[in-house]
């Protein structure tokens, strides 16, 4: 059984970590959440009936993230832009660094971090993991129609965010 668990879960550890890292937005917390999620996965493993192991694991990771957020950052669950986000390299680096950072990935990272968690989630699953709507619906537990509309809104918000971000820089 442990062997099978190792085969089912460990190949998807990057996907698990990436999702957690985007949802809780800090390396140390993502680490904790993934460990916790793997423990849960191990506990539930007897209930895993084969099928898509990546979606199965990410569903557990996702739920663990939400529990963590509810406990530690409840205010960020509101469906609004998150102004409290700490974008990593904050204080000390000053305005100049902001001005120079025109790197495309960096811009997207910042914009994405500002989005509400439900939008970050669908974008990570769709764009980074290449999940289909059906798989996203499996992971998040929302109907496929809702997946479609929240992806659409998420992309629109990301575009808006990128635009305002650019304007601020100029």
């Amino acid at each position: 059984m442990p062997d099978r668990f190792e085969q089912v879960v460990l190949p998807h550890l990057d996907a698990a970590y990436n999702l957690a890292r985007w949802l809780v937005r800090s390396p140390a917390d993502a680490d904790d959440v993934v460990q916790e999620a793997c423990l849960r996965a191990l506990r539930f493993f007897d209930g895993f009936r084969g099928g898509d192991s990546r979606a199965w694991l990410l569903k557990i990771v996702r739920n663990t993230c939400y529990s963590w957020i509810r406990k530690n950052r409840p205010s960020t669950l509101a469906d609004e832009f998150d102004e409290t986000v700490h974008t990593g390299e904050k204080a000390g680096e000053g305005v100049e660094a902001e001005l120079i950072s025109r790197d495309e990935s960096d811009r997207i990272r910042k914009a994405l971090e500002m989005l509400p968690v439900t939008f970050r989630e669908v974008l990570v699953l769709r764009e980074m993991e290449g999940f289909s709507y059906k798989e996203i619906s499996e992971v998040t537990g929302v109907p496929m129609g809702t997946v479609m509309s929240s992806l659409s809104r998420a992309r629109q918000k990301l575009r808006d965010q990128l635009e305002t971000g650019t304007r601020k820089e100029v």
């Binding site: 390396p27 460990q35 798989e135 992309r155």
Partner: protein
């Protein structure tokens, strides 16, 4: 289509999630609405950055190590019970195995399961590639003298499936050539070996342990493609591979 109302259709179109008729509807709309056409175009240009490794957080090595350590420890408590069950299970499996072999003989562990296991091993054990190159003229000659056939090797970078390298594998008592392609951060393993007959067969999909496995025969070769990439995109890749040889 009314794009002030049905914006989400554009997204579903972009994601390849619309049926044929709806796709045609959206395409007709795009031809007449420059705003929507621009939006689709700009997201397509934006996508590679979104899928790039800069924005993807890989699990730190210590985390993976911890997870490995964690597995046997949490399983220690009911070990006796487990061993008894495992023993009984093994005895039963052996009996079943013998019965299957003596009465009817299709093997229990199918070839496709073996291929999926090989795919998983290649991801786990840092043994993904023996020859690392995106150049088909490096990868193809590398197989010379290692297998008794010349596998078809092509790079599909332009289509979004760059060739990453090749390796040898040993399955069903024969050497098999494996080509490795990438799609964003997904790994695609392509297994190629000479077919026993010259029949062509169309691309067939099955899902095993969460991996998609496509198989077909063409031009005297048998192909298996394994990846955790979604079925639609993987099929697209298979058609590239099958169509251009």
């Amino acid at each position: 289509m009314d794009c002030t109302q049905d914006r989400h259709l554009l997204d579903a179109y972009l994601d390849g999630e619309l049926g044929f008729e709806r796709s045609l509807e959206v395409e007709a709309h795009l031809a007449s609405c420059p705003r929507c056409a621009l939006q689709i175009q700009s997201w397509k240009e934006f996508r590679p950055t979104m899928r790039g490794s800069e924005l993807y957080y890989r699990a730190p090595a210590p985390l993976a190590e911890n997870m490995r350590k964690l597995i046997p420890r949490t399983r220690r408590v009911p070990w006796l019970e487990r061993w008894v069950w495992a023993g009984a299970g093994a005895a039963f499996a052996t009996a079943a195995w013998i019965a299957v072999f003596t009465v009817i003989h299709p093997p229990v562990r199918s070839f496709d399961q073996e291929i999926v296991a090989s795919h998983i091993r290649s991801l786990m054990a840092n043994h993904l590639m023996d020859v690392v190159s995106s150049d088909q003229h490096t990868v193809k000659p590398w197989f010379d003298g290692k297998v008794d056939f010349a596998p078809p090797v092509q790079d599909f970078s332009a289509e979004g499936y760059p060739l990453a390298g090749g390796r040898l594998d040993y399955l069903e008592r024969r050497n098999v050539a494996v080509l490795i392609y990438h799609r964003a951060l997904h790994v695609i393993n392509v297994y190629v070996w000479p077919a026993e007959d010259n029949h062509h067969s169309s691309v067939d999909l099955q899902t095993m342990q969460g991996y998609n496995v496509l198989s077909w025969k063409k031009n005297g070769f048998e192909f298996r493609v394994v990846s955790d990439l979604n079925a639609a995109e993987l099929r697209g890749f298979a058609h590239l591979l099958a169509g251009d040889q």
